[in-house]
């Protein structure tokens, strides 16, 4: 009956950038010369030198002096953004380290400009007890290149029946709670989780679909599924559950975060809930913002994920939601799968695509270049992913911990041409020409990623 086993009641995990863990690197002292600094939240937009001293942003200014021992990075022509934050990543550890582990997953994150990520608990075993959570956090302290938080399951084994020891898990550093991959089927269990949230704290992040509507569906129900003879997942499978859970959250005064919104009807349900004052946040993925079920005509299994790619009207609604802020952040739902598992007929292949390394560039060429959204909006939404979980958005303002990425917006590259940092390659954008290449990422004050060619230039 050790101290450890007693739930640490009354220490809600919401406060918690402290709940993120990483292998601490040497605190960086770097002078970034001549980058275009863009931090919409802090109102920073202009070309200047930026000095990072001992892992902290010290000052911006013209022709800053490099302190002794500082690395000087010639960054004219590059943009400096606050580091991105991804609230939805699958690191497959423990259980499927062949697909991803903490090292490879966080390397992929750093290569994508991310300085913090949150990992989902649908591993093997499921993260549903404090010991599993603690061991993961310990591994992150040894292996993670960028600060990584771990959500714990809402129900034991994600079976949807019995709540996990949420209070103890919160005390052990859970970044929030989710049964992601599966919905919380029972409205009664969902209600109990919302009630128990008052004790345990932590936002409930929800994968929303009604299994009785999704059935054995493998793609969006619509023209394309009719043509291909594939079982469809109707939009209302997501939207009805979102409406249910918003009603429950309102009734119990709980806080929920709706994951990977895919359908127009869902965006509408969220708008109504927000207008009614429900504490609900939501995320959108790059693939739902950029692709439609039309891509599935190829039966390429890298277009199979859950929720599925939907119609053009759905895509536009998700985009509008991102603009209006009803969907407040971009999340990749980075879901690595082994190659042999994706080399099956579409119906048999597992759902999920990788996205950490392509998110910014895919959205840049797909939405910013054609003028659909502004660069400042994209940066704001890419950096906001931690906020629903109490992880503050990174900032370029002086005095902030150094969390930033340097990006060459002019650089054009083909996704996957030089391989992947991730252990898996099941990316929906593989083979596409993208613009916007991350040259360097500094996370929690240390250099987490340097593009190879850029590293050479910087040294010179």
């Amino acid at each position: 009956m050790s101290e450890e086993r007693r739930p640490s009641v009354g220490r809600p995990s919401t406060a918690a950038s402290a709940s993120l863990e990483h292998a601490s690197g040497p605190a960086a002292t770097v002078l970034v010369r001549g980058a275009r600094l863009l931090d919409p939240r802090a109102g920073i937009d202009g070309t200047a030198d930026l000095l990072i001293r001992d892992g902290e942003i010290a000052e911006h200014g013209d022709a800053l002096e490099a302190p002794d021992g500082a690395e000087v990075v010639e960054a004219s022509g590059l943009h400096a953004f606050p580091g991105f934050v991804d609230p939805h990543v699958h690191l497959r550890t423990p259980g499927r380290e062949d697909e991803e582990d903490l090292d490879s997953g966080t390397r992929a994150a750093a290569a994508g400009g991310y300085c913090a990520i949150l990992a989902m608990p649908n591993t093997d075993p499921v993260v549903d007890t404090a010991p599993v959570l603690r061991s993961l956090r310990e591994r992150a302290r040894a292996e993670a290149r960028v600060p990584t938080g771990f959500l714990a399951a809402i129900t034991r084994g994600q079976a949807g029946e019995q709540l996990t020891e949420m209070a103890e898990l919160g005390g052990a550093g859970a970044a929030g709670f989710t049964d992601d991959g599966l919905p919380v089927r029972s409205a009664g269990v969902m209600r109990q989780a919302l009630q128990y949230q008052r004790l345990a704290g932590g936002v409930l992040a929800l994968h929303e679909e009604d299994p009785s509507l999704s059935g054995d569906g493998v793609m969006h129900e619509g023209e394309v599924s009719a043509r291909l003879g594939l079982s469809g997942i109707p939009s209302v499978s997501e939207a009805t559950m979102v409406a249910r859970d918003c009603a429950l959250a309102a009734y119990e005064h709980g806080r929920i975060h709706v994951q990977h919104v895919s359908a127009r009807e869902t965006v509408e349900a969220l708008e109504r809930a927000c207008a009614a004052g429900v504490e609900v946040t939501a995320e959108a993925t790059p693939h739902h913002l950029l692709l439609t079920d039309d891509a599935v005509r190829s039966l390429d299994t890298n277009f199979k994920m859950n929720p599925p790619l939907r119609s053009e009207a759905d895509r536009r609604a998700v985009l509008d939601g991102l603009r209006s802020g009803v969907l407040g952040c971009v999340a990749t739902d980075h879901a690595p799968h082994a190659r042999e598992e994706k080399e099956h007929p579409f119906e048999l292949a597992p759902m999920g695509v990788t996205g950490l390394e392509t998110a910014f560039a895919a959205l840049h060429i797909g939405l910013v270049r054609p003028g659909v959204i502004g660069l400042d909006l994209l940066v704001e939404r890419m950096t906001a992913g931690g906020e629903p979980f109490g992880v503050p958005a990174p900032s370029l303002a002086a005095g902030s911990p150094a969390n930033l990425c340097l990006v060459d917006l002019e650089a054009e590259w083909e996704a996957g041409e030089a391989g992947w940092e991730s252990r898996s390659s099941n990316c929906a954008f593989a083979g596409r020409r993208l613009t916007g290449r991350v040259r360097m990422t500094i996370a929690a004050g240390a250099v987490a990623y340097r593009e190879r060619s850029f590293a050479l230039e910087a040294v010179r």
Binding site: E221, G222, E223, G229, E347
Partner: protein, 316 residues
């Protein structure tokens, strides 16, 4: 024409006409005492069937044999497939025998297209999940054309479980390409949302069945009856069975087989002279001979078929 036959989508009306003419010429051969032609002698055709099938697999076998090809039939049961070998490994193993053609039947959409990426053989889709069954559609068009001539403006009703039917999907595409006006009809739970984008009308009752020139009934699979797609077999038959009362004297009747007597069709219409069901089975062999010929013989001996030419294949 493409190197593979994966979907009716890939065929132009000219491609279809060409296959039909070729099938006509084989139909003539089939009338002779010795039904074999030497066209594919020395070439190997592999029948790879991951689903139980009697008529499709046997008619492909017969078609390959009548073209003098060497035939290997691989059924999912009793093969390495049961030992957990993936489709890719199976196809790569079979490809080591250097087949000219692989005929594949799979319970999964897109399987034939996948196979075509993993082999240098020509691939024929003999049914992939609920997606397509292109040779069935071609033999249906062939059968109907032989009976009534040009199909332009012919009104064809496809009745039954459209949701789970690859025959319906390929049929809609092929018949509309040949100029037919296609209507699909069935219980609302068995009509896929968005099917009208394939170019057909949709309705849920047989009230206007009298408009049809041809009624194409789909097989109502018994395993679907146990779900909640239809409340009961009895109610399905009451609403959608094609019987002597509903089928007019000038309407033709088709069915891909095997028929559930007393479910989608009544005994009287099956045995009526309006039914083309056994003609469809006969056509299966010659149309599949034509498909194999077009895909496999074309590369070695590129002999374009002149307009109206029907006698090219010689009996052995």
């Amino acid at each position: 024409m493409n190197r593979h036959l994966l979907s009716i989508d890939e065929l132009s009306r000219d491609d279809i006409e060409r296959i039909l003419r070729r099938a006509e010429s084989f139909a003539e051969v089939s009338g002779r005492e010795i039904k074999k032609v030497p066209t594919l002698r020395g070439r190997t055709v592999i029948n790879l069937f991951y689903e139980a099938s009697t008529r499709t697999s046997s008619s492909f076998e017969l078609a390959a044999k009548r073209l003098s090809a060497d035939l290997v039939s691989v059924k999912a049961q009793g093969s390495s497939v049961d030992k957990g070998e993936s489709l890719k490994d199976t196809v790569q193993t079979l490809s080591a025998y250097d087949p000219a053609g692989i005929v594949i039947r799979s319970p999964h959409a897109g399987a034939a297209a996948l196979v075509s990426r993993w082999t240098s053989a020509s691939v024929v889709n003999a049914g992939d999940g609920k997606h397509e069954h292109p040779t069935q559609a071609l033999l249906d068009v062939f059968t109907l054309r032989r009976r009534i001539g040009a199909l332009e403006g012919t009104k064809l009703w496809i009745v039954g479980d459209v949701l789970h039917s690859r025959v319906a999907r390929s049929g809609i595409l092929a018949f509309t390409r040949m100029g037919c006006k296609v209507t699909v009809c069935g219980p609302p739970t068995l009509i896929p949302r968005g099917i009208e984008t394939l170019g057909c009308e949709v309705c849920t009752t047989l009230d206007d069945l009298g408009d049809a020139d041809v009624v194409y009934a789909l097989r109502m699979q018994r395993e679907r009856m146990t779900g909640s797609f239809v409340p009961s077999l009895r109610e399905y038959a009451a609403c959608y069975q094609i019987d002597g009362r509903r089928l007019g004297p000038n309407q033709l009747l088709m069915h891909p087989g095997p028929v559930n007597r007393g479910v989608e069709l009544s005994a009287e219409v099956i045995d009526s002279p309006q039914a083309l069901i056994t003609r469809q089975v006969e056509s299966g062999v010659v149309v599949r001979m034509a498909v194999l010929y077009e895909l496999l013989a074309g590369h070695a001996a590129p002999a374009p078929l002149p307009e109206g030419e029907t006698t090219e294949p010689q009996p052995a």
